[in-house]
Protein backbone atom coordinates (compact mmCIF):
# COMPACT_ATOMS: atom_id res chain seq x y z
CA UNK A 1 0.00 0.00 0.00
CA UNK A 2 1.04 3.59 -0.56
CA UNK A 3 0.04 6.58 1.48
CA UNK A 4 -3.14 8.33 0.36
CA UNK A 5 -1.38 11.55 -0.65
CA UNK A 6 1.12 9.62 -2.80
CA UNK A 7 -1.63 8.24 -5.00
CA UNK A 8 -2.35 11.61 -6.51
CA UNK A 9 -0.36 14.24 -8.32
CA UNK A 10 -0.94 17.25 -10.50
CA UNK A 11 -4.28 18.67 -9.49
CA UNK A 12 -5.44 15.60 -7.63
CA UNK A 13 -5.22 13.29 -10.61
CA UNK A 14 -4.21 9.73 -9.88
CA UNK A 15 -0.59 8.93 -10.71
CA UNK A 16 -0.26 6.66 -13.74
CA UNK A 17 2.55 4.19 -14.32
CA UNK A 18 3.75 1.87 -17.09
CA UNK A 19 3.66 -1.76 -15.97
CA UNK A 20 4.02 -3.65 -19.24
CA UNK A 21 5.62 -3.16 -22.64
CA UNK A 22 4.97 -5.13 -25.82
CA UNK A 23 6.47 -4.15 -29.12
CA UNK A 24 7.63 -5.08 -32.55
CA UNK A 25 10.26 -2.95 -34.22
CA UNK A 26 12.31 -3.55 -37.36
CA UNK A 27 15.25 -4.53 -35.12
CA UNK A 28 13.54 -6.37 -32.29
CA UNK A 29 10.33 -8.13 -31.31
CA UNK A 30 10.42 -7.38 -27.60
CA UNK A 31 12.00 -4.72 -25.41
CA UNK A 32 15.12 -6.78 -24.63
CA UNK A 33 15.86 -7.40 -28.32
CA UNK A 34 15.05 -3.82 -29.25
CA UNK A 35 17.24 -2.41 -26.49
CA UNK A 36 20.12 -4.72 -27.43
CA UNK A 37 19.90 -3.52 -31.03
CA UNK A 38 19.87 0.13 -29.97
CA UNK A 39 22.96 -0.34 -27.82
CA UNK A 40 24.72 -2.39 -30.51
CA UNK A 41 23.98 0.14 -33.27
CA UNK A 42 21.93 -2.44 -35.19
CA UNK A 43 19.64 -0.98 -37.86
CA UNK A 44 16.38 -2.53 -38.96
CA UNK A 45 16.26 -0.83 -42.34
CA UNK A 46 16.53 -2.90 -45.49
CA UNK A 47 15.72 -2.96 -49.17
CA UNK A 48 12.02 -3.31 -49.78
CA UNK A 49 9.73 -3.50 -52.76
CA UNK A 50 6.21 -2.20 -52.83
CA UNK A 51 3.54 -2.43 -55.54
CA UNK A 52 3.68 0.24 -58.28
CA UNK A 53 6.50 2.08 -56.53
CA UNK A 54 9.24 -0.50 -56.99
CA UNK A 55 12.32 -0.82 -54.87
CA UNK A 56 12.86 1.44 -51.92
CA UNK A 57 14.02 1.20 -48.31
CA UNK A 58 11.93 0.46 -45.25
CA UNK A 59 11.98 -0.69 -41.67
CA UNK A 60 10.31 -4.11 -41.80
CA UNK A 61 9.12 -6.17 -38.83
CA UNK A 62 9.41 -9.96 -38.64
CA UNK A 63 7.35 -10.77 -35.55
CA UNK A 64 5.49 -14.08 -35.43
CA UNK A 65 1.98 -13.03 -36.39
CA UNK A 66 0.68 -16.53 -35.63
CA UNK A 67 1.73 -16.28 -31.98
CA UNK A 68 -1.59 -14.70 -30.96
CA UNK A 69 -3.78 -15.15 -34.07
CA UNK A 70 -4.75 -18.07 -36.26
CA UNK A 71 -4.51 -17.95 -40.04
CA UNK A 72 -8.18 -17.15 -40.49
CA UNK A 73 -7.93 -14.14 -38.17
CA UNK A 74 -4.89 -12.93 -40.07
CA UNK A 75 -6.72 -13.29 -43.36
CA UNK A 76 -9.73 -11.37 -42.15
CA UNK A 77 -7.94 -8.58 -40.28
CA UNK A 78 -5.40 -5.93 -41.12
CA UNK A 79 -1.66 -5.74 -40.67
CA UNK A 80 -2.15 -2.83 -38.27
CA UNK A 81 -4.54 -4.97 -36.27
CA UNK A 82 -2.05 -7.80 -36.24
CA UNK A 83 0.77 -5.51 -35.10
CA UNK A 84 -1.51 -4.23 -32.35
CA UNK A 85 -2.58 -7.71 -31.27
CA UNK A 86 0.99 -8.93 -31.06
CA UNK A 87 2.13 -5.84 -29.14
CA UNK A 88 -0.81 -5.84 -26.72
CA UNK A 89 -0.51 -9.55 -25.92
CA UNK A 90 3.22 -9.17 -25.37
CA UNK A 91 2.52 -6.21 -23.09
CA UNK A 92 0.02 -8.28 -21.13
CA UNK A 93 2.52 -11.13 -20.70
CA UNK A 94 5.14 -8.62 -19.61
CA UNK A 95 2.82 -6.93 -17.12
CA UNK A 96 2.09 -10.00 -15.05
CA UNK A 97 -1.57 -9.00 -14.81
CA UNK A 98 -3.82 -11.78 -13.53
CA UNK A 99 -5.73 -11.63 -16.81
CA UNK A 100 -8.39 -14.34 -16.22
CA UNK A 101 -9.50 -12.49 -13.11
CA UNK A 102 -9.46 -8.98 -14.57
CA UNK A 103 -12.84 -7.36 -15.25
CA UNK A 104 -12.56 -6.88 -19.02
CA UNK A 105 -15.21 -4.16 -18.97
CA UNK A 106 -12.70 -2.05 -17.00
CA UNK A 107 -9.97 -2.42 -19.62
CA UNK A 108 -9.52 0.08 -22.45
CA UNK A 109 -7.55 0.05 -25.70
CA UNK A 110 -6.18 3.33 -27.09
CA UNK A 111 -4.02 2.97 -30.16
CA UNK A 112 -2.41 5.86 -32.00
CA UNK A 113 -2.35 5.74 -35.80
CA UNK A 114 -0.84 8.05 -38.36
CA UNK A 115 -3.36 6.82 -40.90
CA UNK A 116 -5.49 3.74 -41.32
CA UNK A 117 -7.23 2.18 -44.29
CA UNK A 118 -4.87 3.16 -47.07
CA UNK A 119 -3.37 -0.32 -47.28
CA UNK A 120 -6.72 -2.09 -47.39
CA UNK A 121 -8.26 0.35 -49.87
CA UNK A 122 -5.25 0.12 -52.13
CA UNK A 123 -5.42 -3.68 -52.07
CA UNK A 124 -9.10 -3.66 -52.95
CA UNK A 125 -8.63 -1.26 -55.84
CA UNK A 126 -5.78 -3.40 -57.12
CA UNK A 127 -8.06 -6.44 -56.99
CA UNK A 128 -10.92 -4.55 -58.57
CA UNK A 129 -8.77 -3.60 -61.54
CA UNK A 130 -8.76 -7.32 -62.43
CA UNK A 131 -12.58 -7.15 -62.67
CA UNK A 132 -12.70 -4.05 -64.82
CA UNK A 133 -13.63 -1.91 -61.83
CA UNK A 134 -16.98 -3.69 -61.39
CA UNK A 135 -17.80 -2.78 -57.79
CA UNK A 136 -19.81 -5.97 -57.28
CA UNK A 137 -16.40 -7.57 -56.73
CA UNK A 138 -15.53 -5.14 -53.91
CA UNK A 139 -14.99 -7.06 -50.69
CA UNK A 140 -17.47 -7.08 -47.83
CA UNK A 141 -14.37 -7.05 -45.61
CA UNK A 142 -13.49 -3.54 -46.76
CA UNK A 143 -15.52 -1.62 -44.19
CA UNK A 144 -14.53 -3.54 -41.05
CA UNK A 145 -10.92 -3.43 -42.18
CA UNK A 146 -10.88 0.29 -42.88
CA UNK A 147 -13.00 1.80 -40.12
CA UNK A 148 -10.68 4.09 -38.21
CA UNK A 149 -10.99 2.11 -34.97
CA UNK A 150 -9.87 -1.12 -36.67
CA UNK A 151 -6.45 -1.66 -35.03
CA UNK A 152 -7.80 -1.01 -31.52
CA UNK A 153 -10.96 -2.99 -32.23
CA UNK A 154 -8.99 -6.00 -33.42
CA UNK A 155 -6.99 -5.90 -30.17
CA UNK A 156 -10.20 -5.76 -28.12
CA UNK A 157 -11.76 -8.61 -30.12
CA UNK A 158 -8.66 -10.76 -29.83
CA UNK A 159 -8.28 -10.22 -26.08
CA UNK A 160 -12.02 -10.16 -25.30
CA UNK A 161 -11.77 -6.65 -23.86
CA UNK A 162 -15.19 -5.06 -23.42
CA UNK A 163 -14.24 -1.61 -22.14
CA UNK A 164 -13.72 1.38 -24.44
CA UNK A 165 -11.56 1.01 -27.54
CA UNK A 166 -10.63 3.42 -30.27
CA UNK A 167 -7.72 4.75 -32.23
CA UNK A 168 -6.29 8.21 -31.95
CA UNK A 169 -5.46 9.74 -35.32
CA UNK A 170 -2.55 12.04 -34.64
CA UNK A 171 -0.19 11.78 -37.63
CA UNK A 172 3.30 10.96 -36.41
CA UNK A 173 2.57 12.18 -32.89
CA UNK A 174 0.17 9.25 -32.51
CA UNK A 175 2.35 7.02 -30.34
CA UNK A 176 2.55 9.68 -27.66
CA UNK A 177 -1.10 10.60 -28.18
CA UNK A 178 -2.20 7.00 -27.55
CA UNK A 179 -0.22 6.92 -24.33
CA UNK A 180 -1.65 10.26 -23.21
CA UNK A 181 -5.20 9.13 -24.01
CA UNK A 182 -4.74 5.98 -21.95
CA UNK A 183 -3.48 8.00 -19.01
CA UNK A 184 -6.39 10.41 -19.25
CA UNK A 185 -8.92 7.57 -19.35
CA UNK A 186 -7.39 6.23 -16.15
CA UNK A 187 -7.68 9.71 -14.65
CA UNK A 188 -11.35 9.77 -15.63
CA UNK A 189 -11.95 6.35 -14.09
CA UNK A 190 -13.21 5.08 -17.46
CA UNK A 191 -10.99 2.03 -17.03
CA UNK A 192 -8.57 0.41 -14.59
CA UNK A 193 -6.13 -0.94 -17.15
CA UNK A 194 -5.23 0.83 -20.38
CA UNK A 195 -3.50 -0.69 -23.37
CA UNK A 196 -2.05 2.41 -24.94
CA UNK A 197 0.49 3.15 -27.64
CA UNK A 198 0.67 3.18 -31.41
CA UNK A 199 0.91 1.02 -34.52
CA UNK A 200 1.80 1.41 -38.16
CA UNK A 201 1.26 -0.72 -41.26
CA UNK A 202 2.16 2.11 -43.61
CA UNK A 203 4.94 0.32 -45.49
CA UNK A 204 2.25 -1.81 -47.15
CA UNK A 205 0.86 1.09 -49.14
CA UNK A 206 2.75 2.56 -52.07
CA UNK A 207 1.09 5.90 -51.46
CA UNK A 208 3.11 6.90 -48.45
CA UNK A 209 6.40 6.25 -50.25
CA UNK A 210 5.27 8.00 -53.42
CA UNK A 211 3.97 11.00 -51.51
CA UNK A 212 7.19 11.42 -49.53
CA UNK A 213 9.19 11.09 -52.73
CA UNK A 214 7.05 13.67 -54.49
CA UNK A 215 7.62 15.90 -51.50
CA UNK A 216 11.38 15.37 -51.79
CA UNK A 217 11.37 13.77 -48.36
CA UNK A 218 12.06 10.05 -49.00
CA UNK A 219 15.51 8.86 -47.94
CA UNK A 220 17.82 7.16 -50.39
CA UNK A 221 21.19 5.57 -49.69
CA UNK A 222 23.27 2.80 -51.24
CA UNK A 223 23.52 1.16 -47.82
CA UNK A 224 20.00 0.72 -46.36
CA UNK A 225 21.31 0.71 -42.80
CA UNK A 226 22.83 4.16 -43.37
CA UNK A 227 19.77 5.76 -44.93
CA UNK A 228 18.06 7.08 -41.80
CA UNK A 229 20.43 9.80 -40.63
CA UNK A 230 18.79 12.59 -38.65
CA UNK A 231 20.95 15.67 -38.02
CA UNK A 232 23.58 14.56 -40.57
CA UNK A 233 24.58 17.07 -43.22
CA UNK A 234 23.94 14.48 -45.95
CA UNK A 235 20.50 13.37 -44.76
CA UNK A 236 17.95 13.28 -47.54
CA UNK A 237 14.66 12.26 -45.99
CA UNK A 238 12.56 9.71 -44.17
CA UNK A 239 12.81 5.92 -44.14
CA UNK A 240 9.29 4.61 -43.63
CA UNK A 241 8.94 1.80 -41.10
CA UNK A 242 6.24 -0.42 -39.70
CA UNK A 243 5.97 -1.39 -36.08
CA UNK A 244 3.97 -1.21 -32.92
CA UNK A 245 4.34 -0.57 -29.24
CA UNK A 246 1.67 -0.96 -26.59
CA UNK A 247 2.09 -0.07 -22.93
CA UNK A 248 0.05 -1.41 -20.06
CA UNK A 249 -0.90 1.62 -17.97
CA UNK A 250 -2.34 1.45 -14.48
CA UNK A 251 -2.90 3.79 -11.60
CA UNK A 252 0.08 3.76 -9.27
CA UNK A 253 -2.08 2.58 -6.40
CA UNK A 254 -3.25 -0.50 -8.33
CA UNK A 255 0.23 -1.30 -9.58
CA UNK A 256 1.74 -1.11 -6.11
CA UNK A 257 -1.07 -3.18 -4.64
CA UNK A 258 -0.35 -6.07 -7.00
CA UNK A 259 3.42 -5.57 -6.67
CA UNK A 260 3.79 -4.95 -10.40
CA UNK A 261 7.08 -4.15 -12.02
CA UNK A 262 6.93 -0.41 -12.70
CA UNK A 263 8.87 0.82 -15.74
CA UNK A 264 8.20 4.46 -15.00
CA UNK A 265 5.61 7.06 -14.10
CA UNK A 266 4.10 9.36 -16.72
CA UNK A 267 4.56 12.69 -14.98
CA UNK A 268 4.13 15.20 -17.79
CA UNK A 269 2.49 15.49 -21.15
CA UNK A 270 1.51 18.04 -23.74
CA UNK A 271 -0.16 18.18 -27.13
CA UNK A 272 -0.45 21.44 -29.04
CA UNK A 273 -0.78 22.67 -32.61
CA UNK A 274 1.34 24.85 -34.89
CA UNK A 275 -1.62 26.17 -36.87
CA UNK A 276 0.85 27.39 -39.47
CA UNK A 277 1.23 24.77 -42.24
CA UNK A 278 0.09 21.37 -43.50
CA UNK A 279 3.59 19.96 -43.49
CA UNK A 280 6.28 22.34 -42.29
CA UNK A 281 6.95 22.24 -38.54
CA UNK A 282 7.10 25.30 -36.36
CA UNK A 283 9.87 25.50 -33.76
CA UNK A 284 8.15 28.02 -31.52
CA UNK A 285 5.07 25.83 -30.99
CA UNK A 286 7.28 22.76 -30.51
CA UNK A 287 9.23 24.61 -27.82
CA UNK A 288 5.96 25.59 -26.15
CA UNK A 289 4.83 21.97 -26.26
CA UNK A 290 8.02 20.69 -24.62
CA UNK A 291 7.99 23.48 -22.04
CA UNK A 292 4.37 22.75 -21.14
CA UNK A 293 5.07 19.05 -20.63
CA UNK A 294 7.95 19.93 -18.31
CA UNK A 295 5.88 22.50 -16.45
CA UNK A 296 3.11 19.96 -15.88
CA UNK A 297 5.76 17.53 -14.62
CA UNK A 298 7.06 20.18 -12.25
CA UNK A 299 10.52 19.78 -13.69
CA UNK A 300 13.15 22.18 -14.98
CA UNK A 301 14.90 21.39 -18.26
CA UNK A 302 18.15 20.57 -16.50
CA UNK A 303 16.37 17.79 -14.61
CA UNK A 304 15.78 15.85 -17.83
CA UNK A 305 18.41 13.18 -18.33
CA UNK A 306 17.46 11.95 -21.81
CA UNK A 307 15.61 13.76 -24.57
CA UNK A 308 14.30 11.34 -27.18
CA UNK A 309 14.10 13.52 -30.28
CA UNK A 310 11.49 13.17 -32.99
CA UNK A 311 13.82 14.13 -35.88
CA UNK A 312 13.00 12.16 -39.02
CA UNK A 313 15.88 12.99 -41.31
CA UNK A 314 14.30 15.81 -43.27
CA UNK A 315 16.28 19.02 -43.64
CA UNK A 316 13.61 21.34 -42.31
CA UNK A 317 12.09 19.11 -39.64
CA UNK A 318 15.37 18.29 -37.92
CA UNK A 319 16.44 21.94 -37.87
CA UNK A 320 13.13 23.15 -36.46
CA UNK A 321 13.21 20.62 -33.64
CA UNK A 322 16.78 21.60 -32.79
CA UNK A 323 15.76 25.26 -32.66
CA UNK A 324 12.96 24.31 -30.28
CA UNK A 325 15.19 22.16 -28.09
CA UNK A 326 17.93 24.79 -27.88
CA UNK A 327 15.26 27.29 -26.89
CA UNK A 328 14.03 25.08 -24.04
CA UNK A 329 17.27 23.49 -22.89
CA UNK A 330 19.75 26.27 -23.71
CA UNK A 331 23.35 25.28 -23.18
CA UNK A 332 22.75 23.72 -19.79
CA UNK A 333 24.58 20.62 -20.94
CA UNK A 334 23.00 18.16 -18.52
CA UNK A 335 20.57 16.43 -20.87
CA UNK A 336 21.56 13.79 -23.39
CA UNK A 337 19.75 13.85 -26.76
CA UNK A 338 19.29 10.79 -28.94
CA UNK A 339 17.26 9.61 -31.91
CA UNK A 340 15.77 6.16 -32.41
CA UNK A 341 14.62 6.70 -35.99
CA UNK A 342 18.26 6.59 -37.03
CA UNK A 343 18.09 2.84 -36.28
CA UNK A 344 14.65 1.78 -37.44
CA UNK A 345 13.36 4.55 -39.66
CA UNK A 346 10.13 6.36 -38.99
CA UNK A 347 7.60 4.05 -37.37
CA UNK A 348 4.82 6.58 -38.06
CA UNK A 349 1.92 5.88 -35.67
CA UNK A 350 4.17 3.62 -33.61
CA UNK A 351 7.14 5.98 -33.56
CA UNK A 352 6.45 7.91 -30.38
CA UNK A 353 5.66 4.81 -28.34
CA UNK A 354 8.55 2.76 -29.73
CA UNK A 355 11.02 5.56 -29.17
CA UNK A 356 9.89 6.00 -25.57
CA UNK A 357 10.09 2.24 -24.95
CA UNK A 358 13.61 2.07 -26.36
CA UNK A 359 14.69 4.71 -23.86
CA UNK A 360 12.83 3.39 -20.80
CA UNK A 361 15.42 0.66 -20.39
CA UNK A 362 17.95 3.37 -19.51
CA UNK A 363 16.29 3.62 -16.08
CA UNK A 364 17.81 0.19 -15.46
CA UNK A 365 21.05 0.20 -17.42
CA UNK A 366 22.01 3.87 -17.09
CA UNK A 367 22.95 4.10 -20.75
CA UNK A 368 21.69 6.55 -23.36
CA UNK A 369 21.59 4.99 -26.81
CA UNK A 370 22.88 7.14 -29.63
CA UNK A 371 21.71 8.71 -32.81
CA UNK A 372 23.57 6.72 -35.46
CA UNK A 373 24.63 7.46 -39.02
CA UNK A 374 25.87 10.88 -38.01
CA UNK A 375 29.08 11.46 -39.95
CA UNK A 376 29.05 15.23 -40.12
CA UNK A 377 26.52 17.23 -38.22
CA UNK A 378 24.40 19.84 -39.94
CA UNK A 379 25.61 23.03 -38.20
CA UNK A 380 22.00 24.03 -37.69
CA UNK A 381 21.37 20.80 -35.78
CA UNK A 382 23.94 21.35 -33.07
CA UNK A 383 22.67 20.16 -29.71
CA UNK A 384 24.85 20.30 -26.65
CA UNK A 385 24.57 16.73 -25.34
CA UNK A 386 23.74 14.91 -28.57
CA UNK A 387 24.89 11.29 -28.19
CA UNK A 388 26.57 10.50 -31.47
CA UNK A 389 27.00 7.02 -32.98
CA UNK A 390 28.00 5.25 -29.75
CA UNK A 391 25.86 4.79 -26.63
CA UNK A 392 26.89 6.81 -23.62
CA UNK A 393 27.05 5.56 -20.04
CA UNK A 394 25.49 8.30 -18.00
CA UNK A 395 24.90 6.46 -14.76
CA UNK A 396 21.68 7.27 -13.00
CA UNK A 397 18.79 8.08 -15.34
CA UNK A 398 15.63 9.30 -13.69
CA UNK A 399 13.79 11.43 -16.30
CA UNK A 400 13.08 10.97 -20.01
CA UNK A 401 11.36 13.42 -22.32
CA UNK A 402 9.90 11.93 -25.50
CA UNK A 403 9.08 14.19 -28.47
CA UNK A 404 6.73 13.19 -31.27
CA UNK A 405 5.49 15.59 -33.92
CA UNK A 406 3.33 15.21 -37.01
CA UNK A 407 1.72 16.72 -40.08
CA UNK A 408 -0.94 19.39 -39.77
CA UNK A 409 1.19 20.84 -37.01
CA UNK A 410 0.51 18.38 -34.19
CA UNK A 411 3.17 18.36 -31.47
CA UNK A 412 3.40 16.10 -28.46
CA UNK A 413 5.76 15.53 -25.58
CA UNK A 414 5.68 13.01 -22.75
CA UNK A 415 7.79 13.05 -19.59
CA UNK A 416 8.41 9.78 -17.78
CA UNK A 417 10.20 9.46 -14.44
CA UNK A 418 11.76 6.45 -12.88
CA UNK A 419 9.61 5.16 -10.04
CA UNK A 420 11.59 4.56 -6.92
CA UNK A 421 8.80 3.59 -4.52
Amino acid sequence: MIAHDERYARGGRPRVVITGIGLTAPNGNNLAEFRASLLAGRSGVRRYEVRYFGETLAGVCDFDALKYQNRKELRRGTRAGSVGIYSANEALADSGLDWPNIDKSRVGVFIGVTEHGNVETENEIYELKGYNYDTSFWSHHHNPRTVANNPAGEVALNMQITGPHYTIGAACAAGNAGLIQGMQMLWLDECDVAYAGGVSESIHTFGIFASFRSQGALAEHADPTRASRPFDRERNGIVVAEGGCVFVLERLEDAVRRRARIYGEVVGHSINTDATDFVLPHAERQAECVALALRRAGLAPDQVDIVSTHATGTVSGDRQECVALRQVFGDAGHSCFNNTKSFIGHGMGAAGALELAGNLASFDDGVCHATINLDEIDPECQLNGLVVNQPREIGEVSTILNNSFGMLGINSAVVVRKYVG
Binding site: K72, R75, F137, H141
Partner: protein, 87 residues
Protein backbone atom coordinates in the same frame (compact mmCIF):
# COMPACT_ATOMS: atom_id res chain seq x y z
CA UNK B 1 -18.48 -28.66 -64.37
CA UNK B 2 -19.62 -31.93 -62.92
CA UNK B 3 -21.00 -32.16 -59.38
CA UNK B 4 -17.68 -33.68 -58.30
CA UNK B 5 -15.75 -30.75 -59.81
CA UNK B 6 -18.07 -28.27 -58.15
CA UNK B 7 -17.51 -30.01 -54.82
CA UNK B 8 -13.74 -29.78 -55.30
CA UNK B 9 -14.05 -26.10 -56.10
CA UNK B 10 -16.17 -25.34 -53.03
CA UNK B 11 -13.73 -27.32 -50.91
CA UNK B 12 -10.88 -25.24 -52.33
CA UNK B 13 -12.74 -22.05 -51.49
CA UNK B 14 -13.38 -23.32 -47.96
CA UNK B 15 -9.70 -24.09 -47.50
CA UNK B 16 -8.95 -20.43 -48.28
CA UNK B 17 -11.68 -19.08 -46.03
CA UNK B 18 -11.02 -21.42 -43.11
CA UNK B 19 -7.31 -22.20 -43.38
CA UNK B 20 -7.09 -23.54 -39.83
CA UNK B 21 -9.79 -26.18 -40.33
CA UNK B 22 -9.23 -29.82 -41.24
CA UNK B 23 -11.61 -30.38 -44.15
CA UNK B 24 -10.70 -33.99 -44.82
CA UNK B 25 -13.59 -35.33 -42.76
CA UNK B 26 -16.22 -32.88 -43.95
CA UNK B 27 -19.66 -34.49 -43.99
CA UNK B 28 -21.61 -33.40 -47.07
CA UNK B 29 -25.05 -33.77 -45.53
CA UNK B 30 -24.26 -31.85 -42.33
CA UNK B 31 -24.44 -28.06 -42.25
CA UNK B 32 -21.10 -26.27 -42.61
CA UNK B 33 -21.77 -24.31 -39.45
CA UNK B 34 -22.17 -27.51 -37.43
CA UNK B 35 -18.74 -28.71 -38.52
CA UNK B 36 -16.71 -25.55 -39.12
CA UNK B 37 -16.25 -22.19 -37.45
CA UNK B 38 -17.98 -20.14 -40.12
CA UNK B 39 -19.89 -16.91 -39.66
CA UNK B 40 -21.94 -14.75 -42.00
CA UNK B 41 -18.85 -12.99 -43.37
CA UNK B 42 -17.40 -16.38 -44.30
CA UNK B 43 -20.54 -17.29 -46.25
CA UNK B 44 -20.26 -14.00 -48.07
CA UNK B 45 -16.69 -15.04 -48.91
CA UNK B 46 -18.04 -18.21 -50.53
CA UNK B 47 -20.46 -16.12 -52.58
CA UNK B 48 -17.72 -13.65 -53.54
CA UNK B 49 -15.25 -16.35 -54.52
CA UNK B 50 -17.79 -18.06 -56.78
CA UNK B 51 -18.45 -14.67 -58.35
CA UNK B 52 -14.75 -13.95 -58.82
CA UNK B 53 -13.78 -17.37 -60.10
CA UNK B 54 -16.78 -18.22 -62.28
CA UNK B 55 -18.90 -15.07 -62.44
CA UNK B 56 -21.69 -16.97 -60.68
CA UNK B 57 -24.19 -14.55 -59.18
CA UNK B 58 -26.10 -15.92 -56.21
CA UNK B 59 -29.11 -13.84 -55.17
CA UNK B 60 -29.26 -13.08 -51.46
CA UNK B 61 -32.52 -14.94 -50.98
CA UNK B 62 -30.78 -18.11 -52.15
CA UNK B 63 -27.87 -17.97 -49.70
CA UNK B 64 -29.59 -20.64 -47.50
CA UNK B 65 -28.89 -23.08 -50.35
CA UNK B 66 -25.22 -22.89 -49.30
CA UNK B 67 -25.87 -24.39 -45.86
CA UNK B 68 -24.10 -27.71 -46.48
CA UNK B 69 -21.82 -29.16 -49.11
CA UNK B 70 -24.62 -31.38 -50.46
CA UNK B 71 -27.11 -28.52 -50.77
CA UNK B 72 -24.44 -26.24 -52.27
CA UNK B 73 -23.49 -28.75 -54.96
CA UNK B 74 -27.13 -29.49 -55.71
CA UNK B 75 -27.85 -25.79 -56.02
CA UNK B 76 -24.81 -24.99 -58.17
CA UNK B 77 -24.94 -27.99 -60.51
CA UNK B 78 -27.52 -26.57 -62.99
CA UNK B 79 -25.95 -23.11 -62.72
CA UNK B 80 -22.40 -24.29 -63.39
CA UNK B 81 -23.00 -27.24 -65.72
CA UNK B 82 -21.81 -25.31 -68.78
CA UNK B 83 -18.85 -23.65 -67.04
CA UNK B 84 -15.35 -25.08 -67.55
CA UNK B 85 -13.29 -25.66 -64.42
CA UNK B 86 -10.33 -23.33 -64.22
CA UNK B 87 -7.01 -23.52 -62.44
Amino acid sequence: MTPAEIRDEVLDILSDIAPDEDLSGLKDDVAFREQLELDSMDFLDIVMELRKRYRVQIPEEEYPQLASMASTVTYLTPIMKDIQKTG
